[in-house]
């Protein structure tokens, strides 16, 4: 791969795809070229990045790693059904506003003192600054916070598919123009465009309009070689032998017909568990007792339990082969 011309990123770092890959690796997030390219493009094209893939492959982690890598604050918005702009964008400080009206009423006499007639009173009232809907009473929510972050920010809109379709449409303005409209105040433009990550688990199809505005990254389950590197980075104390064995086992599980396939996060948990139990090598009994770490449904545990010995043996064999060979 050739080196791409260095470009000043929002975090003030000059970046090439290789630099991104290396930098992320330092932070313990192992990327493949595809993922690194996506970060590079998201930075340079200033486009939001929509990350899809099965749960547990590190979609959210990617945003977190990016914020660390660029040294920018991470602003996270967790989506759920019924999320609306008052929770995502801004809210008025109602309590303060109420107090303000009370104070206003009390001071009204002073303001209007000496005014003759209704029209003059109105004139004076108009001179009185209108602060009721102003910045002072504005409560920032994540989206606004990310837009107004002085040095830029990494904005993570997590599990967008869980939010309603209306919220998705509401995001469109933000995603394409990096600006938001507040009816009472006006349009607020981002000082420095934040790097936006959207994640989705595909519980529903996101709209085309949204997809059009985003770069689209699909992170599948990692292959053997990549998963080995991930485990090595995240659980550095584990022996090479055990690591290869457990990765091989997980890779085999993913070939089975299960309700929920084990993802990278489960592999990492499992590696930690085995390390804690001082295991040196994978054996059927050890796997059986720790199976609930990687499989989250009783049906799955029973299905795998029945063929555990075979699977373990095959994993042991597969661990010795270099990755990529079947």
């Amino acid at each position: 791969m050739t080196l791409v011309k260095p470009i000043q990123g929002p975090g003030g770092k000059t970046d090439s795809i290789e630099a991104i890959q290396a930098g992320f690796e330092e932070l313990g997030y192992i990327t493949n070229p595809q993922i690194a390219t996506s970060i590079y493009l998201a930075q340079n094209l200033e486009k939001p990045l929509l990350v899809e893939g099965p749960p547990g492959v590190g979609k959210t982690e990617l945003a977190i790693a990016t914020s660390k890598y660029l040294g920018l604050p991470l602003v996270r918005l967790q989506c759920y059904e019924g999320l609306d702009e008052s929770k995502a964008l801004y809210e008025w400080k109602y309590g303060k506003q109420l107090l303000y009206t009370q104070i206003l009423r009390e001071t009204l006499g002073e303001v209007l003192q000496g005014a003759r007639g209704l029209s003059e009173s109105m004139k004076r009232l108009h001179q009185f600054s209108d602060v009721f809907f102003s910045e002072q009473f504005l409560e920032e929510r994540p989206l606004m916070k990310a837009m107004r972050a002085p040095a830029g920010a990494v904005l993570l809109i997590d599990e967008l598919d869980k939010a309603d379709q209306e919220f998705e449409s509401f995001l469109l303005e933000l995603l394409s123009e990096y600006q938001i409209s507040i009816p009472e105040i006006g349009t607020i433009k981002a000082t420095i465009k934040p790097i936006v990550f959207l994640t989705s688990n595909n519980t529903r199809e996101l709209s085309d309009a949204l997809k059009r505005r985003c770069l689209h990254l699909y992170i599948p389950f990692p292959d053997t070689a990549l998963e080995r590197r991930i485990i090595a980075a995240r659980v550095p104390d584990i022996s090479v032998k055990l690591r290869n064995e457990l990765v091989a086992f997980i890779q085999e599980l993913r070939g089975l017909d299960l309700k929920k396939l084990p993802a990278v996060s489960e592999t990492i948990d499992w590696a930690r568990t085995l390390l804690l139990l001082h295991a040196n090598t994978l054996d059927a009994d050890m796997v059986r007792t720790t199976l609930n770490v990687i499989l989250k449904f009783q049906d799955d545990i029973e299905a795998v339990g029945a063929q555990l010995t075979t699977l373990t043996n095959e994993a042991l064999k597969a661990a010795e082969r270099p990755p990529g060979l079947k």
């Binding site: 791969m1 493009l41 059009r212």
Partner: protein, 495 residues
Amino acid sequence: MDQTLGDFIKALRNADVRVSSTEVVDAHQVIDLVGYSSRSMLKNALALVLPKTADEKAIYDYTFDRFFKFDELDEMDMADKNQAAGEAGRDPEAGENAGQEGGGQGEGGGGGGQNNMAEAGAGGEGAPGSEDTHEQGEMRERLSALSQMVLSGDRAGLSVAMAEAGEAVGLRNIFIFTQKGLYSRRILEHMGLKALNNDITDLRKRDNANAHELAERLRKGREYLLSQVRDYVEQQFLLHADVDGSHLREDILSKSRLTNIERRDYRMVQEMVRKMAKRLIAIHSRRRKVYDRGALDIRKTMAKNHAYDGVPFDIRWKSVKIDRPKVVAICDVSGSVAKVAHFMLMFLYSLNEVMPKVRSFAFSARMGEVTDLFKDSDVETAMSKTLAEWGQGSTDYGRSLQDFAELALNDIDSRTTVIMLGDARSNYGDPGSEIMKKIYDRSKWVMWLNPEEKNTWNYADSVMRKFQPYCHQVQVCNSLTHLERIVSMVLRSSA
């Protein structure tokens, strides 16, 4: 605009990847950024911009690999050469003397490592050493450009000439497989095949062994050229054309009358119907209504109550209600409408998959509910079971509506949309329009879909006029386009 990128995007669109114009702009920006220098980087980068689902990514990978194939003519491998040499030996025209055959084969074997096309093209020559004799050299100079290229094995030159010819004859406009021959011929003509043919004829006419040999080499080369052009056209066809004609067929199918669609097209129609249902549901299913319960909307309440001196007098609520349409579908499955019923059932089935509140009924002589059947079995079984169970006997609207009244009349309320599919041919029996009136009074919307054209309504035993007053809407429905338009209407009105 970058022609290569444009062609690639066209190829992608052809392969059913949806690429919008904003994405095209993005793709250009990406190329400005990463350039064409690294293939893998280009692939990774464009993969982020153009395909937007996991399925599309797979198609993208495949198309990219094919489109940006290393653009050179196939190397003739050793086996081919040996074969060529062998053939030459058997060919009476070429095998002028038997002694040359062995030499030819030996040479084929020796030259295999170099994989030089000149040798391969000259396989038939079989002469020891592929150098031209002096006389041949002179002859060659008088030949056409194409012939010279073929003889010297200028693979890159041929490749370029082929691409240029392809461009000139507008190969990228190829859209159906029957055009492959036409385009191959045009490309060859453009490359100067005629001159090459003339060269061959001229050389053969001469009474000269060298000339004959050269003609033979040209003939071999021409064959090779033909096969390469065919491959090239094939490859371009796969990229640029509607490969299996699916777009064309979909278009035709969606407009043709449902009764005319052949059994073999059912699968495709089924897929189309499913797509259609999904699209419609996506548009219409999640309509929301403001609901007077839930969380207090402080902003609206305050704004509203300014007039009352800030005393929260008129209270506003925040919550909204997702309103999903409730649909009752009744389908005539008797012989007269069986073919249309098939599609209607198919569509009902698809609706069932994506919409929670559809109740389906089928009738001919009697009526029965098929909702559960639709829920539990796959589309084929569901349909054949429905037809077997309820499709027997002659249509009796009166009796069937009576059954319906017992089964589901109480379930019909002001949120229900009723879709009735039938030709309203009651075999001169009682149409049961009084029950239709009840349904009409209770429901939100009643729609009657009649597969017959309007001018046959009320003719013979059709009693459309008796039902018509009790329907909000009456429609002719006999093609998928009709069906889609109508169902879209249903979903809109029932929301």
